[in-house]
């Protein structure tokens, strides 16, 4: 594929040195998820204090979700904003769509609890925080393509969380190094919420 010189120049110029390696990128994504939890908690507080309406809370929460997935996607490109393609943005968008659906159910639950007088800051903050790990899914979807297309990787392996893991994640880990083709057939990524660990997945991927 031919890449215009201007694009290369722009891409190189805008790369983030702090995100040169996969390890640094993963660290940044985890850091961004922590920021998301803090922002989400602050937003929950504003809702509970009556400073914002439920509709405003819902809108702002979705914006936070969108920013989380967008920044995770850029991190997967090593921080090169100019390297983001429409396809990448499409992955981000599809992720947001999925999370927005959960957020709509969440908003309904919040409204019901508020009407019943059972709304607590801890409850809302905790549930909002569960959305943070979904950024990992976006990151690895885009990072896997980047590894194959730009780094010439052919294989991938599933790395377990150092803390706690569910049976299904252990099964994926036990596959060892597998081809990216096989991995694509499995169609699962850390943080996608599709396994027993649900939104708590803290696994990662490695490429070679």
């Amino acid at each position: 594929m031919r890449i215009p010189f201007a694009s290369i120049f722009k891409s190189v110029r805008k790369q983030a040195p702090a995100l040169r390696t996969l390890e640094q990128q993963v660290k940044f994504v985890r850091f961004r998820q922590e920021l998301f939890r803090q922002d989400a908690s602050a937003l929950a507080e504003r809702l509970l204090r009556g400073e914002i309406s439920l509709a405003d809370w819902q809108r702002q929460f979705k914006e936070q979700v969108k920013l989380l997935h967008g920044t995770s996607a850029i991190a997967a490109k090593g921080g090169k904003k100019a390297a983001m393609t429409q396809h990448d943005w499409g992955i981000v968008g599809a992720q947001c769509k999925k999370q927005y659906k959960y957020a709509n159910d969440f908003a309904r639950a919040v409204q019901e609890k508020a009407e019943a007088g059972k709304l607590t800051l801890e409850g809302v903050s905790h549930r909002m925080g569960l959305y943070a790990n979904s950024g990992t899914d976006t990151f690895y979807q885009i990072r896997t393509e980047w590894a194959e297309d730009e780094e010439g990787a052919t294989e991938v392996r599933w790395l377990l969380s150092p803390v706690e893991n569910c049976r299904e994640c252990v099964e994926l880990h036990d596959l060892g190094w597998i081809s990216l083709g096989e991995f694509g057939q499995i169609g699962q990524y850390p943080g996608d919420g599709s396994r027993l660990c649900g939104p708590n997945c803290a696994c990662s991927l490695d490429y070679r």
Binding site: F31, Q86, W89, G93, K97
Partner: protein, 114 residues
């Protein structure tokens, strides 16, 4: 094949939720039925496509829906596929995401002592 352009500011909530009901609400009653069908098919077309996004504002339509669109007065001509260049994220969203990335990266680098 034609494209219908959604205004992300005007329809953002409805489009983000995949419901698009605000578009319906903004149309005269006689057009609601056609748009309801459009919404249903559009949702399927958009969200089964890997390129789909809650804030991509161009949705490809064709066949029966294209005919229905021809009968609707949406108040603006439908742009051609060439004019839209396919799927696109709105510039405003890209700007906000990039700004957030810069802010997050600065905080990250600060924490890492860079």
């Amino acid at each position: 094949m034609s494209y219908i352009e959604f205004d992300p500011e005007k329809h953002k909530t409805a489009f983000a939720d995949g419901r698009l009901f605000e578009i319906q609400a903004g149309l005269p009653n006689e057009n609601r039925q056609g748009v309801s069908r459009l919404v249903k098919v559009t949702e399927q077309a958009v969200y089964e496509d890997a390129l789909a996004s809650p804030w991509f504002f161009a949705v490809q339509v064709g066949g029966e829906i294209e005919k229905q669109l021809d009968r609707l007065d949406l108040g603006q001509p439908l742009p051609t596929a060439e004019a839209l260049g396919g799927w696109r994220i709105t510039a405003d969203n890209v700007r906000r995401i990039e700004a957030d990335f810069d802010r997050s990266l600065a905080l990250f680098e600060q924490q890492e002592g860079r």
